[in-house]
């Protein structure tokens, strides 16, 4: 929403500076995006008169002009077709920055002739259009000139020329003065609750309430109708169009609107069209009251607001639209004319020759207006206001104001006003205890002051018996429904800066913030994995549905109905997908050996509880090279990191069972799931090469995923104290054993059996060698273990050690068929 300072002053008697106005607007809730005085931009530009225009000696399409300028007579090279003797145009001296092209003028010869400045077009000044409507008149001359040069006439006209100013403008007159543009333009952002701020009057009202001056109230006139309108208006769907007001004016003479109005519209970026149309645009911005004018002679029968029936019509923007049954249209006997509250139609638009007009002022359902606007893509000033909500009491005053201006500009004779439909009832009055301000906003405001503020904002305030106020919101404030809204009105006018700030409570008075166990664990996992060399990434919660299916996801309930991109159309069943793709992206950029992890959600369904906390990690290893030699990273590297992270999370890692991974995206034979009982805590290994190929990721890729919520919760303890420390004074001792087992035997089975051979004594079993070859029969392998014995009460005798060794050999044989290696 844009308006100028002079426009604001039509409604606000004020001496306040632009800075003070901006500050006050900001502090009462009107967000000022920008304030610009166009005069600053136009300062170097002045009027100049071309005295002579001659063919450039070295260029067909250029002319060398003698120009009377603010700097005297200058020779200027110009390529515009309309540069000709007698033309008054805009001059820019050397050194001027041209906003439209971003170029600063330098004294440079143009094909051998020095140009002492530049003659400018509107476009070069970012003014747009034909400022004074003078060009069109001169098109015949342009065409002749184009013929002279052998150029295409139409193209010569569309490419434009330099600005044409009225002949009576004196040489040297500043452009800002010519345009009367020394008038700051405010550009504001209006929150959806305040459609009344989409009119300058509404802004003035709030500024006056905030002490920025006095509101100038100009009530709408009452203009008596001279006859009954020959065209009636009505609403067939009071849900879509609540009120439809109309007035017929006969015998108007359309033409350009007065200069002051054109200037005002131009200043906010609107193109003046004709008096009839300009009046509607003016009131749209002045009073937030969109209007529409029909050429009454083009209307067939009567005007009705109704829902669309699938018809098509041509709107004022020249486009053809379909009116669906969800849209509100204005129709006559011939069919749809336009979209109610969004855009009128071409067939009944006003032109220079319009003699009889019908003015429409209506109230449309704002949500339907919004949907119509969105479906058609039309962004009009009418839609912008109607979808936010029009003051329902504004139809008759809007028609009166428009009538007054049209009679003034175009003459004519008005009919009676017709108001069809029913004006929505005003919002209920609010019973308001002024003490509420203190309770909710924390500041004491005397009741009398609250009352003054509310009245200044247009509320009617009367006193109830129990010191409570009865506050009636004005018709344009449909956002106010209860005491909290009134507290906001008082507080924002008093100023949020005035509210005290109470010191926050210190933690000593409270329990410290308790994050859940799951959240704390994610924090621990982050530190553990970052310390282990992995970099934490945060990737999308979505992925490609086809990829999700590869990883056991992709259920219909998790597919987005409106994805933002085809590769982000489904909730991820695991973070591994996005991490693998990210690792490959790094590799493609030449950054290999990425180790990435993510501690975040995976989605197994759309019900509460289906979102699980996971820690996923990916390592796409590059060959490790070191002068001491190194082995390629393999699944035992990620197994180590996975177990370390599990241990950090408090999982009992020594009691875990290692079984073959059961999901098809893991590489068979090189992946495993770690289980506690029958509950899977984590999976690690290589990703299946087929899966990687589908993802476009190079093999091998190592990975693991921890299901954080599956790790048993720590037991609640009565005390933070740790149990007493039991330090055994006796030396532990170790014995080595080498066993021959079948190739298919599992190391973990052997180790578990040995650990259990003599529970009180065997403290640790460490598998330190796997050997195949000489001395070991084909199809078998040798596993060597170091067993640590921890005596409890006394040093072990040789006989006791022998006895334990025997049990170890026996247990190993029983569990795995192992034979002690000779």
């Amino acid at each position: 929403m844009k308006f100028t300072l002079s426009w604001l002053k039509e409604h606000l008697d004020t001496d306040a500076s632009v800075e003070a106005l901006v500050h006050t607007m900001t502090m009462i809730g009107i967000e000022v995006e920008n304030v610009e005085n166009p005069a600053l931009k136009y300062r170097p530009f002045t009027a100049a008169r071309v005295v002579e225009a001659r063919q450039h000696p070295n260029a067909d399409k250029l002319q060398v002009c003698q120009v009377d300028t603010v700097q005297g007579r200058l020779e200027i090279v110009c390529g515009a077709l309309n540069a000709r003797a007698g033309l008054v145009t805009i001059f820019a001296p050397i050194g001027t920055y041209i906003p439209g092209t971003g170029i600063t003028l330098e004294p440079k010869p143009v094909r051998g002739v020095v140009s002492n400045g530049m003659l400018c077009s509107e476009g070069e000044l970012e003014l747009g259009g034909d400022l004074f409507g003078l060009r069109e008149k001169n098109y015949p001359e342009w065409r002749a000139r184009a013929d002279q040069l052998g150029l295409d006439q139409a193209k010569a006209i569309t490419d434009g020329g330099i600005a044409e100013l009225p002949n009576d403008i004196a040489v040297g007159a500043p452009l800002a003065q010519i345009l009367e543009a020394d008038d700051p333009v405010f550009d504001i952002e209006v929150t959806p609750n305040r459609p009344d701020w989409l009119g300058v009057m509404g802004i003035a009202r709030d500024l006056a309430a905030a002490g920025m001056g006095k509101l100038i109230t100009r009530p709408a006139p009452t203009i008596k109708g001279k006859f009954v309108s020959p065209i009636s208006v009505g609403t067939d769907d009071p849900g879509a169009c609540m009120v439809f007001g109309g007035r017929y004016i006969r015998g108007v003479k359309n033409g350009p609107s007065p200069e002051w109005l054109q200037r005002r519209l131009r200043a906010i970026g609107l193109r003046p069209r004709s008096a009839l149309v300009d009046v509607t645009n003016f009131l749209t911005f002045d009073r937030a009251r969109p209007l529409h004018v029909y050429d009454a002679d083009k209307v067939r029968g009567h005007l009705r607001a109704r829902l669309g029936r699938g018809e098509t019509f041509k709107a004022l923007d020249g486009e053809t639209y379909e009116a669906t049954p969800d849209m509100c249209v204005i129709a006559d006997d011939s069919g749809v004319l336009g979209f109610g509250g969004v855009m009128g139609g071409e067939s009944t638009g006003c032109t220079e020759s319009t003699v009889n007009v019908l003015i429409e002022a209506a109230v449309f359902d704002n949500l339907r207006t919004f949907r119509t606007g969105r479906m058609t893509g039309i962004n009009s000033d009418a839609r912008y206001r109607n979808e936010r909500g029009i003051d329902p009491a504004s139809c008759a005053p809007g028609l009166e104001l428009a009538t007054k201006l049209i009679l003034e500009f175009c003459g004519g004779e008005p009919s009676d006003i017709i108001l069809a439909g029913e004006i929505p009832a005003p919002l209920a009055a609010v019973t308001f205890d002024p003490e509420r301000v203190k309770k909710l906003a924390g500041i004491s405001v005397p009741a009398a002051k609250s009352k003054t503020i509310l009245k200044a904002l247009g509320f009617e305030v009367s006193a109830d018996e129990a010191k409570k106020l009865v506050v009636q919101p004005p018709s344009w404030r449909r956002d106010v429904e209860g005491p909290a809204d009134l507290v906001e009105e008082v507080a924002r006018i008093v100023g949020y800066d005035e509210l005290p700030a109470n010191a926050p409570p210190r933690s000593a008075n409270y329990r410290p913030a308790a994050a859940s166990v799951g959240e704390s664990r994610l924090r621990i996992a982050r530190r553990a994995l970052a310390a282990a060399g992995y970099q934490e990434a945060v990737t999308w919660s979505f992925c490609r549905r086809a990829h999700a299916e590869l990883f056991g996801g992709g259920a219909g309930a998790l597919a987005l109905a409106n994805p933002i991109a085809p590769d982000l159309d489904c909730m991820r069943p695991t973070a591994l997908i996005n991490l693998l793709i990210a690792a490959q992206r790094n590799s493609d950029r030449g950054h290999r050996d990425a180790r990435l992890f993510e501690a975040g959600p995976a989605y197994l369904g759309d019900q509460d509880g289906d979102q699980i906390r996971t820690v996923a990690a990916v390592w796409q290893p590059a060959p490790q090279r070191h002068w001491k030699g190194s082995t390629p990273p393999d699944i035992f590297d990620v197994k180590r990191d996975c177990l370390a992270a599990l241990a950090a999370l408090g999982a009992p890692t020594s009691g875990l069972q290692t079984q073959d991974a059961d999901k098809p995206f893991w590489r068979p034979g090189r992946s495993a799931v770690l289980k506690l009982g029958n509950k899977a805590l984590a999976t690690f290994g290589e990703i299946h090469p087929r899966t990687l190929a589908t993802l476009g990721v190079d093999a091998p890729a190592l990975a693991f995923e921890i299901l954080v919520d599956a790790v048993p919760a720590p037991r609640a303890k009565a005390t933070r104290a740790k149990p007493p420390l039991d330090m055994n004074a006796l030396m532990p001792l170790t014995r080595d054993f080498a066993f021959i087992v079948e190739e298919k035997a599992r190391a973990a089975d052997l180790v578990r059996a040995v650990l259990g051979a003599e529970k009180g004594l065997i403290a640790d079993v460490c598998l330190f060698d796997v050997y195949r070859g000489q001395g070991v029969p084909e199809g078998k392998k040798s596993l060597a273990i170091e067993v640590t014995l921890q005596p409890k009460e006394k040093t072990l005798t040789d006989a006791e050690i022998e006895a334990v060794s025997g049990k170890i050999v026996q247990a190993a044989a029983q569990a795995t068929g192992a034979q002690l290696r000779a």
């Binding site: 507080a491 994050a515 919660s541 309930a557």
Partner: protein, 362 residues
């Protein structure tokens, strides 16, 4: 007697010379055995003492014992010298090029979003807020209706919200567009006084230089019978100081509009953009950092509480944006791209824990 004395002197000279000449421990041991071994020269001489007269023994005893001690001492000294030399030689032989590289120890990094969420939880934790949680996939009620979004509010429209297909009952779930549904869940499940924050992923169907379809928020909620906007101001001013780690931050509260709060406000901080760098706290410009307000009576009612009795405030801020403001990232999109260069540069060491006592930099 003199002849014997002369022999002893000669023997001593000979032995000491040979000890001195021994080139290694084995040679030295040979000399020692020859002199002091069971059949050694000195041992043999010592044995002759028994056959001597008292006078002879009195004279020769000390001489022989002196010889034995001196030779023995010489062996010990020589042995120590040889060991020392051997060690020196070994050290010299085993010297390496110490400039060779060690095997690389890789330390990873923690993502700025995780870091900033922890900082925020810590600061609000100090002020007595509990961290509550809720899922990303939400109901229309929790995300919109309960929060006083009128039916068919444009924000519910496909334009902003990610929806899932409707279920058999015609209800469609959505991806939460803010973390406020956690506030709703908390009010529905707990009794006031409530003092909570929530953090997490949020989603809007929006993608350009400053918007990503997924982003993060931290929100707070206090519900009791007396908390006012003055309390809200105090808490947020304290938060801003602690978060940006500056003593003096000028802030302002401006009226704004949110469906779920009344009165509503946005909070701006002073900032300085001169010199191409953003400094928070002082300066000519204002920077909007969060939205807040007093919880709308309709929201309190929708969550099963009596708005005549209960009141309180809510606030919400963008984690990603506040991370950028504090830590100087200029683009949002790389937050989610997993580029190792970005993660290394903007990530945090796992060993630097945010803490209020030592400053957030830990």
């Amino acid at each position: 007697m003199d002849a014997m004395t002369t022999d002893i002197s000669a023997l001593e000279r000979d032995l000491l010379a040979r000890i001195d000449a021994a080139s290694d421990e084995a040679a030295l041991e040979g000399v020692r055995v020859e002199a002091l071994g069971k059949q050694g020269a000195i041992s043999n001489l010592m044995r002759t003492l028994g056959q001597m007269s008292a006078e002879q023994r009195q004279e020769m005893g000390p001489k022989l014992n002196g010889l034995k001690d001196r030779v023995g001492e010489a062996v010990v000294v020589k042995k120590a010298g040889l060991a020392e030399a051997a060690l020196e030689a070994k050290l010299k032989a085993e010297a390496v090029d110490v400039t060779l590289p060690a095997a690389p120890a890789r330390t990873g990094s923690i993502h700025p979003i995780s870091r900033v969420m922890e900082e925020m939880a810590l600061i609000f934790g100090e002020m007595g807020f509990r961290l509550e949680e809720g899922p990303d996939i939400e109901t229309d009620f929790n995300n919109f209706t309960a929060l006083n979004f009128p039916p068919q509010h444009p924000a519910r429209d496909m334009h902003d919200t990610f929806f899932f297909a409707p279920d058999a009952k015609g209800e469609r779930k959505l991806l939460r567009t803010h973390t406020s549904p956690v506030q709703v869940r908390t009010m529905l499940s707990q009794k006031p006084p409530i003092r909570m924050i929530c953090q997490g992923r949020t989603y809007r169907s929006d993608s350009d230089a400053t918007h990503t379809p997924m982003f993060h928020q931290t929100e707070g909620l206090v519900i009791d019978e007396t908390t006012s906007m003055a309390d809200l101001k105090g808490v947020l001013m304290a938060f801003v100081k602690a978060y940006f780690e500056v003593d003096d931050v000028e802030v302002r509260f401006r009226p704004h509009f949110f469906p779920f709060t009344e009165p509503s406000a946005e909070m701006d901080v002073r900032c300085d953009r001169s010199g191409g760098q953003l400094k928070i706290g002082q300066g000519k410009d204002w920077l909007e950092i969060l939205g807040c307000g007093m919880v709308h009576p309709n929201v309190i009612r929708n969550c099963g509480l009596d708005p005549e009795r209960y009141q309180g405030y809510a606030f919400g801020m963008g984690v990603d944006r506040l991370a950028m403001l504090k830590y100087g990232m200029t683009d949002l999109r790389p937050f989610f791209e997993g580029d190792v260069r970005w993660l290394r540069h903007y990530g945090f060491s796992p060993y630097l824990l945010p803490g209020l006592a030592a400053g957030l930099d830990g």
